[in-house]
Amino acid sequence: MAAPTGPLTLPAVVEELLSEMAAAVRDGAPLLPRLKFVFGSSAVQALDLVDRQSVTLISSPSGRRVYQVLGSSGRTYTCLASCHYCSCPAFAFSVLRKGDSLLCKHLLAVYLSQVTRTCQQLSVSDKQLTDILSAEKTQEA
C-alpha cells in the first residue's frame, strides 16, 4: 500500500517521518518515542487504533478508494485516500481551524496502518462507495 502521493498536503517533515517509520517497522525498531515527539498524545491513540485493527481500506471495482476508521467512541470516520482529510471534529477544529495539529489520530492511524500493513480490506460496489463518500458530509457533530 503506497502512502498517498501527489498533492502536497502534508508538510515535508511528516512525509519524511512516515517513511522513516516504514524503515523502523522493517527493522523492528520502536516507533512510539519518535511518534510521540512529533504528534504528542495522538500518537498513542493512533497506535491503539492500529492495534485494534480499526482502519479499513474500502475499494470499489472502479479503483477508487477511501479509508474508514472506527473511532474509540464507536463512531466511524472517513479519511480520503488521496489527500489529507478526515471527517472527525478534531480535524475540523485542531487541524483546519486552529492549525495547531498536523493530523488527527484517525489520519495518523491510516498512515501507520499503511506502514505496518495492518489495514483491513473491504470491497464494495461502485454505488456503495458513492454512498460512503456522500454520507460523510452529514457526519459532523
Binding site: 501527489g6 472502479s62 479503483g63 477508487r64 477511501v66 488521496s82 489527500c83 483546519l96 481551524r97 459532523e140
Partner: protein, 250 residues
Amino acid sequence: MAETLRRVLNLGSAAGPGKNTAEAEPPLLLLGGPGSGKTALLFAAALEAAGEGRGPVLFLTRRPLQSLPRRTGPALEPLRLQKIRFQYPPSTRELLRLLCSAHEARGPAPSLLLLDGLEEYLVEDPGSQEAAYLAALLLDTAVHFSHRVGPGRGCGLIVALQTQEEGGASGNALQLALLQRYFPAQCWLQPDAAGPGQCCLRASLEPGGLGPREEWWVTFQPDGEMTITRWPTQLVDTSLHKGSSSGGQP
C-alpha cells in the same frame, strides 16, 4: 496543474511551447476579483488540454457560459470543443454528489478537471470542514481520474475562486488559507494599468515549489479578445517592479 496554464499563457509570446509533460502536478487555484478573466483563462486551458490528443476535459460551472470567450489563445476548433464536457451542478449538494459518484461514470476518464466559481459553492455552506471536504473531494476525484487514465499521464485540476476586494471579511481569509492547503499551486489575476476600453491584468503563477514565479500581462480588448504577453523575467526581480507585489521575492 500549472503546466497547462503556463502553456496557455505562453501561447502569445515567443517563449516557445512549454514542456508537454503531463505528469501529476499539484492542483492549481486560479484567483482573481470579479471580471478578472478567470473563466476565459479556464476555458483556454480546457481548449489547450482538449487539443493534446488525450482524454476529454470536464468543465464544471454553476451555469452555462454566457458566450464562448473570443479567441482565447488555442484555436476554437469544433473537434476541441467536442472534447469539453460541461456540467452545471446547480447547488453545493449536487456538486458533492457529482464528485462522490465520479467513479461510476463510464467512458474515458478526463485528462483535466476544471471548476469555475468555487466561491458560489462555498457561500451556501461556509463551515471550514465543508469547504475542506469540497476541496479534498475535488482532489480525490482528480486522483481517481489519474488512476484511470494510467501511469505517467494523470488528470489535472484547476479551480477558479473569486477573491474579495481588499479588506474582506476575516472568514474569507480563513477560507482562502484553508483552500491553499489543498492547492499548493496558485495563479493570481490582479488588475493592472489599463488603456482605453481595455482591461489589463497581471497573472502571477506560483507553481507550488516546482519552480520560480512567472508573470504575464493578460489584456482583454473591448470585443473580448484576449492577448497575453510574457512579463520579462528580469523585470520581476528588479526594483523596476515597484510596490504592487509584496512579499514572495527572493
